[in-house]
């Protein structure tokens, strides 16, 4: 039996085991759930070693990645510093020296915060800018971008709906004063409706995503796994 055949067979059994939960909780499902968790963790540890720690830290530090005949540069010793600094994270398990872990956490938060601050404007700046839309959308020449006479009704209606939804939802999340004035009250209620429609869209999309996962598994079971099972049973009788 080839490794490929064994892989497909085990994959099919594991898929059926996981879906057996839909009938009821059972040891078959529980076993494969633990196998999946173990595989995930094991893969993560092995992959981190093979693709990060070994090639980017240990091999350069020990000079094992050098071309034959090239001298060991003492600058490589400096790699100990980030490695040692990262290892301080493990002091989180020590009651007395826990403050050492906070150095690493603080450093990570600082870098993350600084990068996020910069990234925030790149991401949301443009979105805020693009939310300023003309209520009367002028038709433009696609080649020269020059404004032509007339307005696009569909684009204008789209822009009006967008701006109305934006204002209503922002009103809903405006908590600085009471929503007791009729206009604010109505706008806030409309904002809640807009949010509900959005959540509905998210929920519908989620159902579609889950169906996609199930379809892929069914395609695997029907097309690949069934063929592998057939191959397995025909093995002893084949040439």
């Amino acid at each position: 039996m080839s490794w490929r055949l064994a892989g497909v067979l085990v994959g099919g059994v594991a898929t059926l085991a996981v879906y057996s939960f839909l009938w009821k909780e059972n040891p078959f499902y529980r076993f494969f759930e633990h196998v999946f968790v173990g595989l995930g963790v094991g893969y993560g540890v092995a992959f981190t070693w093979m693709s990060v720690l070994e090639p980017k830290l240990f091999l350069p530090l020990l000079g094992l990645d050098r071309e034959p005949g090239t001298p060991y540069s003492l600058w490589r010793v400096l790699l100990v510093l980030p490695a040692a600094f990262g290892c301080l994270y493990y002091f989180i398990y020590s009651r007395k020296r826990q403050w050492l872990a906070r150095l690493v956490i603080g450093f990570s938060l600082g870098v993350g915060g600084g990068m996020a601050f910069r990234g925030f404007f790149n991401e949301f700046g443009r979105q805020i800018l693009m939310s300023f839309r003309p209520l009367v959308a002028v038709v433009r020449d696609p080649s020269s971008q020059e404004a032509l006479w007339g307005a696009s009704i569909s684009a204008s209606l789209g822009n009006i709906a967008f701006i109305a939804a934006l204002f209503c939802v922002m009103t809903y999340f405006f908590f600085s004063f009471k929503h007791d004035k009729p206009v604010l009250k109505q706008a806030s209620a409309a904002g809640r409706w807009f949010l509900m429609v959005t959540f509905g869209a998210f929920f519908g999309a989620t159902v579609m995503a889950r169906m996609s996962l199930l379809i892929e598994r069914l395609q695997f079971l029907i097309n690949e796994w069934s063929a592998a099972v057939y191959e397995l049973f025909s093995l002893p009788f084949g040439g």
Binding site: R118, M208, A209, I215
Partner: protein, 338 residues
Amino acid sequence: MKRGLTEFLLAIDRRVIYCLVAVFLAVPILFEWKMNPGVMSTAREAYDAIEAVRHEEGSIVVVAIDWGPATKAENQPQTEAVIRHLMLRRIPLAVVTLTPFGAMYTREIPTRLAAEIGREYGKDWVSWGYQPGWMIAVRGLAKDIPGFLKGVDANGRSLDELPAMKGVEDASNVALVCEFTGLVGAVETWIRYFHVKGKPTPIAHGCTSITIPQGYNYLDARQIVGLLEGMAGAASYNELLRGRNEFDVVRKALSELDQPAALRALEEEGVASALDKLPPEHSAREKLSSELEKVNWPDAAPIEAMTCQSFAHLLILLFIILGNVGLYLGKRERGEEK
């Protein structure tokens, strides 16, 4: 009898529903039913963005495979369709991943497609492999690609030996980023940090169905140039690729037949107009039509999957209607009792 029906509708066992869903999904797979997918405008925008990329030295397209087995069902057909398109157009591409679980796919998918289409590693595609650090990795690549990769690809080969990497220095040499993910924060990271001198690189995005509404925020603000929406996006893209193959078949045939009017109609209006321009009695007309029928989707799996989706949606609609009928009858009966 009526009470029995109401009770039945309101207490259908969930396992009955699961079984029916499984049957409805399995039938199109077993009988190999495929419905022609409609082409979504968002997928067409992504397709057009790739069609607009020119093959120039010192320019590359980055394909970010930021997904793993959890979202393979939706992200893999998207990724394959786009890599296939790039390889067919012979646009050099670099695959990279920000997640450890994507690393295996950065090897497997382009290797398989390159063998199928006849493309060569180093010349037509390269792998930058897994790059840890998320925003730091993306920022590092944007500023100095060879420097951040330490001058080597995922296999340890020098970038100088790879013709596809010639002249590729920073984000300004990246014509397009095609980012596929089901993870929160991945496409945001590329939007936020993959730019140089304030000029953002165009990004085409393939998302899972769950994140479609979020993807529209970026599309609406033109932060992405196209969107492949879950499995439906992959099916649409395959339909566009099939249209591309049809176009090539017709162009080749018309060139051989020396039909300039039909060729002009093909370039300007498409395959159907070109066929109309052929004289009705022309012998090639029938032959061409039968050849076009043979042009298939490069990857039929997402087309089949969308057929299953349609069946499942019909079943869900049916259950929603049945549930509401049961609820209505139940309310009416309670009203009668009072």
